[in-house]
């Protein structure tokens, strides 16, 4: 039986693999950025699905760390889930940018290099 989920098996596997090799500080940055996003754009079902969309975008882009969450959050701007909360989303992007600057996090994503 195929169980309905928002994310495909391959993408999930990528997310888990990346998570398993992340440092504790990167994990903390990920938690903080997810918490900030949900605090600003809302922690209802749509808000949570937006977080999952960001994770999906990161996996598809072969990210090396989920601590890049703030850099990918902007990719959800045009999501249909974000339609009714554009202003909140924009505020969240600013807050995330501020967080990354404050903690000296890079402004370009960590990516696996294709050969």
């Amino acid at each position: 039986m195929i169980e309905f989920d928002y994310v495909g098996e391959e993408v999930k596997q990528k997310i888990v693999t990346v998570w398993s090799v992340m440092s504790e500080s990167d994990k903390t940055h990920f938690i903080n950025q997810v918490a900030l996003s949900l605090s600003v754009w809302g922690d209802d079902i749509r808000g949570k699905r937006l977080v999952v969309e960001v994770l999906e975008a990161m996996a598809r882009n072969s990210t090396k760390t989920l601590a890049d969450f703030g850099l990918y959050a902007k990719k959800t701007e045009n999501s249909r889930l974000a339609r009714d909360r554009i202003k909140k989303m924009q505020r969240a992007f600013l807050v995330l940018e501020g967080y990354r600057i404050k903690h000296g996090l890079p402004s370009v994503p960590h990516k696996e290099l294709g050969v």
Binding site: D5, A35, L38, V52
Partner: protein, 150 residues
């Protein structure tokens, strides 16, 4: 001339019925309804009624008269008020240690809401678990459609 037995029996049953109703009310009125066992019913029955009639004796009479289907427990539960069932997954309790961690994080980072922080921590916990059991990772079921409360 022999006295007809039926009216006497009927009278006796009525008394037992009342006692039984009192016992059930008393038993199901206790806070720990689920933990009340038949033995405890017996103790309650002895305390409640003047004559030393056990709960089983009373129950036996009632069962004889009513002949209910199913087990004794099912019969008793049918008499008791049923708690309302919630739809979907219910709120989940957060361990004390995580609760303290969340409170600290909310204090350190202005702008964070408690609910959002709980969800972010829970997401990390789900990912931690998924490292051991990747096939069990289901964002919809494990995270998006669940609610976490302290």
């Amino acid at each position: 001339m022999a006295k007809p037995a039926e009216p006497e029996l009927k009278k006796k049953e009525t008394v037992l019925d009342r006692q039984f109703a009192q016992i059930v009310k008393l038993a199901f009125g206790t806070p720990k309804v689920d933990e009340v066992t038949l033995r405890e019913y017996e103790i309650l029955a002895k305390k409640r009624v003047e004559k030393p009639v056990t709960f089983h004796e009373i129950l036996h009479k009632i069962l004889e008269a009513e002949k209910p289907k199913g087990t004794i427990e099912e019969y008793l539960m049918a008499l008791a008020p049923q708690p309302k069932k919630k739809e979907g997954p219910g709120p989940e309790k957060i361990p004390k240690l995580v609760e303290r961690m969340i409170a600290q994080k909310v204090e350190e980072m202005p702008g964070l809401t408690k609910g959002a922080t709980i969800l972010a921590v829970k997401l990390a916990a789900i990912l931690d678990l998924a490292v051991k059991n990747p096939e069990k990772l289901n964002f919809k079921k494990n995270w998006v459609e669940t609610e976490a409360v302290v």
